[in-house]
């Protein structure tokens, strides 16, 4: 089929579409709605389960150590390993320095007392981390830089603020070196972050029920020193004596731990180290079971933790079912449309058009409908995402914008599915009985 024939078919197609405008409209709406819902849920799905740091996700790992043993109810994970760590284990790992970079971490709550007397004090979520955290997760800085390893050792009173926090407290100015009262103490600002899109927050997945994100980062050692309470999941088995010091000594699980490893050799070596550590604990009598450890990178961790809530999976299922119904609809309508012109087709076949020609022409027509449906679908997706944003947690909002890839996917989906729906009707059209049609006039 050369270009002039294509244009001719295109013209024929447009004319036939116009002839039965109602049917055409119904078709385009059916496809548009189907594509719209599917794309909306697909975008939300991708927003919630995507890789937050694709360029480094294969180099960032989180270790797991079985510090509870088989005689307790197993953790609700696939391999029954717990998802956080005890203080004892975390400190042992930090001391051993078996990875290129490493950080233990936990979340806490700080009361912020802005210097401006017009501003009331407020609470802010904070994350206690080591200096390595920032280069590990490629955290972008607008002003200043992370605190140093020496600050970690000194338990220094220093903080890194997010852009939002800096805007709120310092009016967005360069606040490096300035001081800020947090709780009962004064802290020096070491750096201010730039806009940092990091979804899902792979290092802090337990915090889904708390609104908002971390607004302050401070040294882990400082937080421990000041006995800052844990905000997040703390899981204890026995006899918990309350208080921070007992928490550190206990077998309660509450810390996160992330390491950076480059290359298979590094990874193998770290796995071996973890196993040896667990074996040592067994020999020392702390663990009464064989070593059970695991090391997972970002993607494996997201998968393992079932980051995408069940609702989204159900939505995906429903919207693809919906798309199916819309396509069946389209198929039926296309059939009606095509057979309605059986007379036309009969004449054209009599005049010498081959089956293939009829087939191609109908296909082009179907394609046009598909594209139109796709465009409508895009509009509906935009509306759908707008509504979805009202229901999603704040962090995901930014990720639900359509980019070029999404647009292309939507159009291809519309085109592809319409053509598929149109195959049967088109085949029927091409096989229209010549003589019967001519006689029926």
């Amino acid at each position: 089929m050369n270009s002039s024939m294509f244009l001719y078919y295109f013209d024929l197609g447009l004319r036939s579409l116009r002839r039965n405008i109602v049917l055409t409209a119904l078709l385009i709406v059916a496809i548009g709605v189907g594509v719209g819902t599917s794309m909306t849920t697909l975008t939300v799905f991708r927003a919630m389960s995507g890789d937050p740091i694709p360029e480094k996700s294969r180099q960032l790992f989180t270790p797991q150590i079985d510090s509870r043993g088989p005689l307790v109810p197993p953790a609700p994970t696939a391999d029954h390993l717990q998802t956080s760590m005890t203080y004892t284990d975390a400190m042992a790992l930090m001391k051993a320095r078996s990875a290129r970079r490493q950080t233990a971490m936990y979340g806490t709550l700080l009361s912020v007392h802005p210097a401006d007397p017009k501003q009331k004090p407020f609470q802010a979520l904070a994350h206690a981390v080591y200096a390595d955290f920032f280069p590990m997760f490629d955290v972008p800085f607008k002003y200043g830089a992370p605190w140093t390893v020496a600050d970690d050792d000194d338990r220094a009173a220093t903080v890194v603020l997010t852009q939002v926090m800096n805007d709120r407290v310092f009016g967005g100015r360069n606040s490096v070196g300035k001081t800020l009262r947090l709780g009962a103490d004064t802290y020096t600002v070491a750096g201010v972050l730039d806009e940092w899109r990091f979804i899902p927050v792979v290092y802090d997945l337990d915090r889904t029920s708390f609104a908002g994100r971390d607004e302050i980062f401070l040294p882990f050692t400082r937080a421990i020193d000041k006995q800052m309470g844990v905000v997040g999941s703390v899981s204890c088995m026995q006899d918990l004596q309350t208080g921070f010091a007992p928490l550190l000594r206990s077998e309660c699980l509450w810390l996160g731990f992330w390491v950076e490893l480059h290359g298979d050799a590094d990874v193998r070596q770290y796995r071996a180290y973890l196993n040896n550590y667990a074996a040592d604990q067994q020999h020392a009598g702390r663990f009464h079971w064989p070593p059970h450890t695991q090391l997972r990178d970002v993607r494996e961790w997201l998968n393992y933790r079932h980051v995408v809530p069940g609702e989204i999976d159900i939505l995906m299922l429903v919207s693809f079912g919906f798309l199916l119904v819309c396509l069946l609809n389209a198929m039926g309508l296309l059939l009606a449309k095509v057979m309605g012109r059986a007379g036309d087709i009969g004449v054209r076949r009599a005049l010498g058009a081959s089956r293939g020609a009829i087939f191609s022409q109908c296909l082009v027509e179907t394609g046009v409908i598909g594209l139109a449906g796709g465009l409508l679908g895009l509009v509906l997706t935009a509306i759908g995402l707008f509504a979805a944003r009202a229901l999603l947690p704040k962090e995901f909002v930014a990720l639900t914008h359509l980019d070029v890839i999404d647009v292309v996917i939507a159009l291809l989906l519309a085109l592809g599915s319409t053509v598929m729906a149109g195959l049967y009707p088109t085949w029927r059209a091409a096989n229209v009985q010549l003589t019967w049609q001519l006689k029926a006039q």
Binding site: P73, F122, T242, G310, V325, C326
Partner: protein, 389 residues
């Protein structure tokens, strides 16, 4: 074509309606407390820990002295907050798998009255039973108050009062000194695993003397806004060395806690509505096509004496037969789909009522959608037969 479409529509409709209804039910489940009159103050101290016991006591005394306040207490968590402590509850010490799980609410002897809980057996805590839970170890509670649901789960034959239970985090025996009618766990946004323990709560006689805790306050009926303001002012008058992060009525907490549930239910309902519309249009379109194809036939029948209503009935019946077959297939499909989701998504089984409702709905929809083309068919004049066109 219509049959297949209707069948799939039935399958999707049944499941969506079911899920939607489940979510809505969950979002209306009662917490067991006097929600319209209760609010919560999130208080964080900025003082040295040594001072805390007297400060918390002072706060509570001051709050309770306000004329608009019915009662108040300090706690670790509250219903509809989606955060708190839970623990395994067992009947024997050191049981490998706990009998069940429950939420732990800390409270003093004012907690019952503040929350508006109804005691159905036993008694409230006495003032001397309350243990200040601070930085260092403290004695374990001798008695706790549990909800009726939890009591029945532990001691199904009744008479749970006075019986013992063991919490995983404590080593000593604890007795049930009181049973309340209902108190929901804080986690109401979660899935079926939380649904199973939704009313399993334990009131532990602890008063949290922490840097950060909640004050739950019950206002006099109809005076909530005024009381909220008065309470906040009272606290800031006592001391400015604190941050009051939020003062939230329980009704607001409910809206926030169930946002996901409601949003999901709404989305599914919208999808169902659009699905029905699309299917309806599809039926209209296809039936119109058939009418057009059979113009001559219809004309002949009219010429032979069929009435207009006869033609309409003909098309309606045709649709009914197709729809019935589709409905049956659709119902089977719906259940298959449901089983698939039960396996992967922790869903409940589809009750037969929904299958029937969905099938009937689509049937009726089909009949309604066929009506317009059928009427058009009925208006085809018998003269068409004569024209031989």
């Amino acid at each position: 074509m219509i049959a297949v479409q209707m069948a799939v529509t039935v399958a999707i409709l049944c499941n969506c309606l079911f899920i939607s209804q489940q979510r809505l039910v969950r979002s209306h489940s009662p917490s067991g407390t006097d929600e319209p009159n209760i609010f919560v103050i999130a208080n964080q101290w900025v003082v040295e820990p040594g001072d805390l016991p007297s400060r918390v006591t002072e706060d509570l005394v001051a709050l309770r002295s306000l004329t608009e306040v019915v009662d108040a207490y300090a706690t670790n968590s509250y219903p509809l907050s989606n955060s708190g402590t839970n623990d395994g509850i067992s009947l024997q010490p050191n049981q490998k798998h706990s009998t069940t799980t429950a939420a732990l609410y800390y409270g003093d002897e004012h907690a019952l009255h503040t929350l508006g809980l109804t005691l159905v057996a036993g008694r409230n805590f006495n003032a001397d039973e309350i243990i200040d839970q601070g930085e260092n170890g403290q004695p374990q509670p001798a008695g706790v108050i549990v909800t009726r649901t939890l009591a029945d789960k532990l001691y199904p034959r009744g008479n749970a009062l006075g019986r013992t239970l063991f919490m995983t985090s404590e080593s000593a025996t604890t007795r049930i000194v009181g049973i309340v009618e209902r108190l929901q766990i804080p986690w109401v946004g979660g899935g079926p695993s939380f649904d199973a323990i939704l009313d399993n709560s334990v009131l532990v006689p602890y008063r949290p003397i922490w840097q950060s805790s909640y004050y739950v306050v019950r206002a006099r009926s109809g005076q909530l806004p005024a009381t909220m303001k008065a309470a906040q002012k009272q606290l800031t008058d006592i001391s400015r060395e604190r941050v009051i992060e939020k003062v939230q009525p329980l009704l607001d907490a409910r809206i926030e806690a169930h946002r996901n549930n409601r949003g999901f239910a709404v989305f599914l309902s919208v999808v169902c509505a659009v699905l029905l519309v699309v299917t309806a249009f599809g039926i209209v379109g296809l039936t119109s096509y058939w009418v057009a194809q059979r113009r001559r036939q219809i004309g002949i029948r009219r010429a032979l004496g069929a009435t207009r209503s006869g033609i309409v009935r003909y098309f309606q019946t045709e649709n009914l037969l197709i729809a019935a077959a589709a409905a049956a297939t659709g119902a089977a499909l719906a259940n298959a789909l449901n089983l698939l989701m039960v396996g992967s998504f922790e869903m409940a089984r589809l009750p037969i009522g929904y299958t029937v409702a969905g099938a009937v709905a689509v049937l009726l929809l089909g009949q309604l959608a066929t009506l317009w083309p059928a009427l058009r068919a009925a208006s085809i004049p018998p003269a068409i037969a004569a024209r031989g066109a």
